[in-house]
Amino acid sequence: MSEHVLNARRLLCPLPVIRTQDKVKTLVTGDVLTVECTDPGVMQDIPAWCRINGHRVLETRADGGEYVIVLEVG
C-alpha cells in the first residue's frame, strides 16, 4: 500500500473526476489517494464515481475554499 496526492485545483467537474480516474488506473488495490480540489462539485461527483467503480471514500473535508477527498483504491 502506498499513499499518493493528486492536485486537481482550478479544475471544474468533471475534470477532477477524470484526473482521479486516470490516476487510480496507475495505482493498485489498497493504495490511498488524496485528491485536492477547488470545485465544490467534487464533494458529490468523486464519491459517486468511487461508489460505482468499487473504491472506498475514507474522508471528505472542506476547508477554506478547498475540497479534499481521500479514497482507497478497490
Partner: protein, 347 residues
C-alpha cells in the same frame, strides 16, 4: 454455458440513454457506461462557477445515472480530439455551432475503439428515430452507424424495432422483441417506460446539454475566432466564454467583466494569463482584458469596468490595472454611461 456478452453504453446523463441501457441490462448483458467530455458540456462547470446556481444540486448526471443503473462509468477527456469535429464538421452545423451529426459519429467511433480495446461486444445509444432534427433522423442514423465504423454493432434499443436487425440481435445475444419501436419527438413513450422501470427522478431530456446549441455562446466563439484571425481554441477559451459580460470596443481587445462574486472568484484564476483590472476607489467587478490593448485602450477598458461598479455615477474613480506578472498601477477615469456603450460592443 453461453458466453457473457458485454456492451458499452453512451451515457449522456439524460433519460434516453438511461432507458436504453436498462433495456439491455434486463436481457442479462453486462453493461458499462462511457461519457465523453468535450469541454462544451453545460452541466457542472457553470453551476460550480455562478453563485446564483449555488442552490442547484451539483451532481454530474452521467455519474448519477450510472449509479442508478448499477453500472461502471468511464468518463473520457476528448477536448483536444473534439476540436477537429467542431472546426471541420463534414456534415455541417445545426442552427448554431452545433455539429450534432459529426459529434454523434465521433462519439460512437470513440466508443467503438473503447469496445475493441476492452473486449466488449457491442455499443448501445439512447438514439430515437426522428427525435432530433440533425443527428437522429431516419436518414442519418445509418450514417452514424457506417461512418463511425460501428456498423451493425450499434444497437439503439429505444428504436430497434424501426431499424434493421443488428448483429447482437441476429446472433441471439439480445432479443429484438424486448426492445422498442419509439419514433418522433414525443417524450410520452419514454416517460411511460421510465415509470415501468421505476425511474422517478431523471435529468431533463438532452439537447440543452451542449453550449454549442446556444446562440449567444456560438456568437462569442465566432467573435473570438474573428478577433484572433484563426479558428482555434483551448479549454480556457471555452471556459471563459461561459462567464462574464464580453464587451469588445475594438477588434483587437475585449473586456470580460464578472457579473457576480462566483464569476469573479473563477476569473481571478486567470490573472496570470490576462491583464486584469478592478475599481480601487469603489466596490466593483473584476475585469479581464483579452487581446493587445494600447494605453488608450486600457483607459477605455477602465472606464467600462468602472461602469459596472458602485462608482458608476461618480465624476472620477480609481481603477487598478494589473499586468500578467502582477505589477499594478492605478489610473483615474470617468465611468462610461450606459448610453456610451453601443449595443454592438456587447458580444
Amino acid at each position: 454455458m453461453s458466453q457473457q456478452r458485454k456492451a458499452v453504453a453512451l451515457i449522456s446523463g439524460g433519460l434516453d440513454s438511461m432507458l436504453a441501457t436498462q433495456a439491455i441490462l434486463e436481457q442479462g448483458i453486462h453493461v458499462e457506461g462511457i461519457n465523453f467530455f468535450t469541454g462544451f458540456c453545460v452541466e457542472g462547470h457553470t453551476h460550480a462557477i455562478r453563485k446564483q446556481d449555488a442552490d442547484k444540486v451539483k451532481r454530474n448526471n452521467s455519474l448519477w445515472v450510472a449509479e442508478q443503473l448499477g453500472i461502471k462509468l468511464h468518463i473520457i477527456d476528448v477536448i483536444e480530439e473534439y476540436k477537429n469535429v467542431l472546426l471541420n464538421p463534414k456534415h455541417g452545423y445545426g442552427a448554431n455551432l452545433n455539429p450534432c451529426l459529426d459529434c454523434k459519429i465521433f462519439m460512437v467511433n470513440k466508443a467503438k475503439q473503447w469496445m475493441v480495446e476492452n473486449g466488449f461486444d457491442f455499443i448501445i445509444t439512447g438514439e430515437v428515430v426522428g427525435q432530433r432534427p440533425m443527428s437522429q433522423r431516419k436518414q442519418t442514423m445509418p450514417i452514424v452507424a457506417a461512418q463511425s465504423g460501428a456498423d451493425d454493432l450499434l444497437v439503439r434499443p429505444l428504436s430497434a424495432q424501426n431499424l434493421p436487425a443488428t448483429l447482437p440481435e441476429r446472433e441471439g445475444w439480445i432479443s429484438r422483441e424486448k426492445m422498442f419501436g419509439f419514433s418522433g419527438r414525443s417524450r410520452k413513450p419514454q416517460m411511460t417506460l421510465a415509470k415501468e422501470y421505476g425511474f422517478t427522478d431523471y435529468a431533463q431530456p438532452a439537447g440543452g446539454c451542449c453550449f454549442l446549441t446556444d446562440e449567444a455562446y456560438s456568437l462569442k466563439l465566432v467573435d473570438l475566432w474573428k478577433a484572433r484571425g484563426e479558428r482555434d481554441y483551448d479549454l480556457d477559451d471555452v471556459m471563459l466564454l461561459k462567464v462574464g459580460r464580453h464587451i469588445r470596443p475594438k477588434p483587437h481587445f475585449k473586456v470580460i467583466i464578472a457579473r457576480e462574486d462566483g464569476e469573479a472568484r473563477f476569473m481571478s484564476g486567470y490573472k496570470k494569463e490576462f491583464m486584469s483590472m478592478n475599481c480601487a476607489s469603489h466596490r466593483g467587478p473584476l475585469a479581464l482584458i483579452d487581446g493587445t490593448p494600447s494605453e488608450d485602450d486600457l483607459l477605455q477598458a477602465a472606464q467600462i469596468t468602472a461602469r459596472y461598479g458602485q462608482g458608476r455615477e461618480a465624476e472620477q474613480v480609481e481603477v487598478t490595472i494589473r499586468d500578467r506578472e502582477g505589477n499594478e498601477r492605478n489610473v483615474f477615469v470617468k465611468p462610461l454611461l450606459a448610453d456610451d456603450i453601443p449595443q454592438e460592443w456587447f458580444v
